[in-house]
Symmetry: C2
Subunit: 164 residues, 2 copies
């Protein structure tokens, strides 16, 4: 799996820039998470560009589609981002005609979000783009590595001590 029957070759970022002394910077987990995140986000942004949506906007469309009438507060809780941050995505999506905001009749503070026909079309195409993108970036991983990665990331996320 890892090559010939010698000691497993350790592949590190050192091999990418051999002339630099990394001084153990590559033992910082956050660095690698950040690098891989940038890789995923920037590639996906390019794929989604023709559809005039960003990765986070698609995630919002995705959940609104599956939960018609959902409130911004619910999205804020799911993504663990602040309400004004959610609102910014929602505002852009409404401006671009992918989403509408219908005030709730039960609680007039809250709005309910729905996709437009155009929003549904964009979501369908975006899901296809995401599927191709994820397939492309994870072909090197075995099925077991993929599921381990999901499991470990989830464990990190769920075990994080509360803010403050």
């Amino acid at each position: 799996m890892e090559g010939p029957s010698v000691a497993t070759a350790e592949i590190t970022r050192q091999s990418v820039v051999p002339e630099l002394d990394l001084d153990d910077l590559d033992s910082v987990l956050g660095l690698h998470i950040g690098t891989v995140n940038t890789l995923f986000v920037s590639r996906l942004e390019k794929r989604l560009d023709p559809l005039s949506v960003t990765p986070k906007q698609v995630a919002i469309l995705w959940l609104v589609n599956a939960n018609p009438g959902v409130k911004q507060t619910d999205l804020s809780r799911f993504f663990q981002i602040e309400r004004p941050t959610v609102h910014q995505f929602v505002r852009q999506l409404i401006k671009n005609g992918f989403l509408i905001n219908e005030p709730s009749k039960l609680d007039r503070r809250a709005g309910g979000l729905w996709l437009t026909d155009e929003g549904r079309e964009v979501l369908t195409k975006s899901r296809q783009a995401i599927a191709e993108h994820e397939e492309q970036l994870t072909t090197a991983l075995t099925a077991r590595e993929k599921s381990e990665l999901f499991r470990i990331l989830m464990k990190l996320y769920l075990s994080a001590p509360a803010k403050d």
Copy 2:
């Protein structure tokens, strides 16, 4: 390890917001990488705030310290970010008195970067802050999970198809 001797409980993001239909959004790897990245970055930013540096600025200081006289181009290659992006961090670090830029005598196009005494102090304190931060966020992981995470992230990074 995972609880009583029943089928391993699957812990997902669904359990965080039970009332939402996720419609398989949680099968998108990029979402989890992004969430964990935000977790790491935002926590570290708060820890570094008293030192007046950001996570990326510390990474720059770290490499300049280990490679006195390094060029911005080398940093650009290591971090896989564009030269103007590196320059922005460098400019801020110089402005804050943590870095100096001494033009090379061999190639007057290039500058060489060095830490100031204050930069060295901030780096030392930042490394301590990062060590505590990483320890705090990864305590839930076993040693094997940690090394698997490093290995899989590195594999993703190194196997990524070239841009375009």
